[in-house]
Symmetry: C2
Subunit: 424 residues, 2 copies
């Protein structure tokens, strides 16, 4: 399959490389040409006139729980602890492995509408999520999520082998849910596995003040320091949320090169607080952005997350200059790819995967055109996503999906699963 | 023109009236039937199968400056005072009256993509804004904006007569920009005009801490108390932003029935602070939502504003339960209509104007369907706006505009004006 995208405003997301008008050619899954518009040789399966719109790397959703679509608008307006123990966990207990396959597809479709081309997906039954991802054509990094209630380190090691040797669209990383749902025995076993496999470890970190206080009470130190002490970060990794980090925590993130993934949609909806993003930018911490799951957000939209990231920082710091828009766009693309280990999906470059999105500038929210980066970050919306391409395959175009299954069937099956869990 | 909207999930926005499946008939500008799906008599110019999607009143944008589209992404990352005096005012000085006509149309088109059917539009040359509104088919309440630099109370009194006797789509109210851009002589003259015309007065109120402090220094009291003392609110009115209100200010709003219009997109972008929305809800203050202008937001999207409203309150109050979603939807529809004096555009009811929007539930962010109100508020996006109807005329449908002029021409003309002002 050979595609020509011509007359694009190409935003490569390579630092100091300005937007230019040109063409991109993809051959099967990868980019094989990027440069000025010339007469290209050979045949194309399709020529896409990008018509001056922006062609850029797809957004990377660096923290999510895709199968939780069944809880969207079902468990709202509760603080994290009640939300988790009274609404989420009892419903999740009714999930069957095959439900994960169905429910994930709804989320994958939603990602595509927001120009998101990969998700860092923390949930049970990761093989089911991987299977959905492959069938739909979406790129997923499945993340193990051991707790003291379910899933073991042994099971994770199996998933690690299976999913990392399965298909180019899927990979697997190890993680645990959080300090307060684990115990030291599990975490030490996990640290041992991290050493054996020389792999990074990811988890929810310092999402709420209560989580940090509980960890200090139990272990005499904050969550990141406790995890570091156990050797969990000896091969890197990172944390999701990172709302209540201390200066020492941020220094630890820097020393270890850990990734901090901010999830402002979820943090605001659960009233958890505002992460110290500008401080982490100033300190050079590796940053990425996640939507978190649909149960706590409730939408899976990178434009919303970018907007909340700058909105909360400017508000918290009483400063209109907080968070540079290009830095934010980097977090949402390149930063996420780095966090997820997607070294071939970060920027537009020959040899990289063709994981891309086209942003429609011919809509009123983008007009007139004064500054394209600011337009995308400050005025952009999922309604500007004209096309989303993963591994050289067009999966979403002008509101229509190409997922190997009619979208209406995906909705119907997801509703059936949801109704069964609700007992109706 | 007689239209039948059938098989809709009808959300009337009348308190305690649940969503029901039924039909709406519009005859010319107004609703002439709302009820169950039956065999309707007579001919229809068009039958629209709403296909189980939501038909509801259009959103009301209760504070904006539509012509400022030319400044979108041009003047960013500045605090309010510098933004206003160094970026906005010098550019505005180059505007010609006919520019307002062109620039407003870009904003009107953007409102339609977000299901917004009316705007409370504060800007100079209101006749030009009114003319654009009538030509496009958009509903506008133009708001006078006297300052000590330009526009006089006398000019406003003329606009009041002209625009209020022009066309059903447009009306006019009196206002002033803010305490710090007025002087007491102007404000006393305006209060006199308010008494003569028995009309409410609207203005920016307590947007920043500096504004409140400056007013206290100059007049020994906060902005709303100063305006009240001058008799500006003797026939009602209200304030935009209302970020830094005291308890006494809120009591004044309650006593006078004033409207507080929150603009969280602008407040966060300029780092101005978080308005006390939950407190005002608890006190029964009349509340509405505005996008503010495209220079300080930069997008004109009611879904974004609703989301920021709850996100900021939950964050400020550390409470996942702050701001009930239905209350928020009321603010964005009925509340705005009340603030703008649009008594016939507030809810879906026989005799009311057919100012409506259709929200597409057949998109992944709305699936599965557990709770429609929460889906709209927590997961909704302008990409869910399938259709926007004003005064019984379909102006936006499936991404296409019906504005009496090709949208590309509107973009081109707005870019030309913008380039001229930028001197390129």
């Amino acid at each position: 399959m050979r595609l020509l995208f011509k007359n694009a405003r190409i935003l490569r997301m390579v630092k100091d490389q300005p937007i230019f008008i040109g063409d991109v050619i993809t051959t099967d899954a990868r980019i094989t040409y990027i440069g000025p518009s010339i007469n290209h040789e050979g045949q194309f399966d399709r020529v896409i006139d990008v018509d001056g719109n922006v062609l850029m790397p797809g957004f990377k959703n660096a923290h999510t729980h895709s199968p939780m679509t069944f809880l969207r608008s079902l468990a709202d307006d509760l603080p994290l602890h009640e939300w988790l123990y009274e609404a989420v966990f009892p419903s999740e207990a009714k999930l069957r492995p095959e439900d994960i396959y169905i429910l994930s597809k709804v989320a994958f479709a939603e990602y595509l509408t927001s120009g998101i081309t990969a998700g860092f997906d923390m949930y049970y039954y990761p093989e089911e999520g991987a299977r959905a991802s492959i069938d739909v054509g979406f790129r997923s990094v499945l993340l193990g999520t051991v707790t003291k209630f379910r899933e073991s380190v042994l099971e994770m090691k199996k998933s690690f082998q299976i999913i990392n040797n399965w298909h180019p669209l899927v990979s697997y990383r190890m993680g645990f849910h959080a300090e307060y749902t684990a115990n030291e025995e599990i975490l030490m076993e996990l640290a041992k596995a991290a050493h054996e496999l020389q792999t990074p470890i990811f988890t929810h970190i310092s999402e709420t003040q209560a989580e940090v206080q509980g960890c200090i009470q139990r272990h005499g130190m904050t969550p990141p320091q406790y995890f570091e002490k156990l050797g969990l970060f000896d091969y890197g990794g990172g944390g999701f949320h990172c709302v209540h980090l201390t200066h020492e925590d941020i220094a630890l993130f820097k020393r270890r090169g850990l990734f901090a993934v901010t999830c402002p949609g979820s943090n605001t909806k659960l009233g958890s607080g505002i992460a110290p993003i500008q401080t982490m930018i100033d300190e050079g911490i590796n940053l990425a952005i996640g939507t978190d799951g649909p149960a706590s957000n409730n939408c899976l939209d990178m434009f919303k997350e970018m907007m909340l990231t700058f909105a909360l920082q400017k508000t918290k710091l009483n400063s209109a200059v907080a968070v540079d828009p290009y830095t934010l766009l980097e977090m949402a693309t390149v930063g996420g790819a780095k966090a997820m280990g997607l070294v071939d999906s970060d920027v537009l470059e020959v040899g990289k995967y063709a994981d891309m999105t086209i942003i429609d500038l011919q809509q009123p929210n983008m007009q007139p055109i004064n500054n394209i980066i600011k337009n995308i970050v400050y005025a952009g919306s999922k309604s500007n996503i004209k096309m989303t391409i993963i591994a050289g395959k067009i999966l979403y175009e002008n509101g229509l999906f190409n997922l190997g299954e009619p979208i209406a069937d995906i909705y119907r099956k997801a509703q059936e699963v949801t109704n069964r869990i609700k007992g109706i």
